[in-house]
């Protein structure tokens, strides 16, 4: 854990500033860009607190993937408002593809966890150290040993969501 008041106070000031900018900006694009900064600052907080893995996941999913699908939805919305119905024909498949990207990202990080789970993971004699790459084994033990039922429940939920979205799309078509 990094105990530096300069980093903490500057990051706190920036996150408060950009949260307010997100809510108060009239242009939705400025609002989206401000929210990206907020998500990256959240990742910085995770890193400062000693959870590097959470910081990477936060930056990858919320800092990069989620703003992209929000931006794409804004782009299609503005195109349709401009009267161009032609592009709307391709909007839903494209948006479905972007949403599927989120699921792929979630799947990739679950696979990473599986790869990181080595037999030593189940040895609980040693205490793990924060601020080291041993965090991976801590996560693996938490997900695959301590919270395995919650993990399975989340997996079933994600599967239901994917199936529901595809059915929803088929019904809409």
């Amino acid at each position: 854990m990094i105990d530096n008041p300069v980093i903490f106070y500057s990051a706190s000031f920036l996150i408060l500033l950009f949260v307010l900018m997100t809510l108060l900006a009239k242009n939705i694009i400025y609002s989206l860009l401000s929210s990206v900064v907020v998500f990256f600052l959240g990742a910085l907080f995770f890193y400062v607190l000693g959870s590097e893995y959470n910081a990477i996941i936060q930056a990858a999913i919320y800092g990069l993937a989620v703003p992209v699908i929000i931006g794409v939805s804004i782009m299609f919305r503005q195109e349709e408002a401009g009267g161009e119905k032609k592009s709307a024909k391709f909007a839903i498949p494209y948006l479905t593809l972007m949403c599927a990207g989120i699921f792929v990202l979630a799947f990739i990080y679950l696979v990473m966890m599986s790869v990181a789970m080595v037999p030593d993971t189940f040895c609980i004699k040693e205490l793990e150290q924060v601020n080291s790459f041993d965090n991976i084994s801590v996560f693996a033990r938490g997900i695959f040993v301590n919270y395995v039922w919650a993990f399975e429940l989340v997996s079933v939920l994600l599967t239901i969501v994917i199936a529901g979205l595809s059915l929803f799309r088929k019904k809409g078509a």
Binding site: T22, L23, S51, R77, V161
Partner: protein, 101 residues
Amino acid sequence: MEITIYHYLSVGLFVFLAGLIGSVLVKNVIKVLISIEFMLLGVNINFVAFASFCDNIAFDGYILALFYTGIGAVELAVAIYIFYLMYQKKQSDNIESYGDL
């Protein structure tokens, strides 16, 4: 000056409250979705802060924050998809137009 857990909890509380107020008061649907993500971020900061300061062995807060991150991203993807499908009918991003889900 030492940074304690209360500093991080204060930041998490502010982000959560900003998200809560934004999700209630803001009229734009996309801003409402972003505000909900701010609420999740505030909760995650609290989870990680508690795990770092109070739980030096199991780090349960890290695991919970990881679950929240995954579920929050999927929830946002589904919400964006539903919003877009409804936008094709409503042609408006004002949340008051979406009363009849």
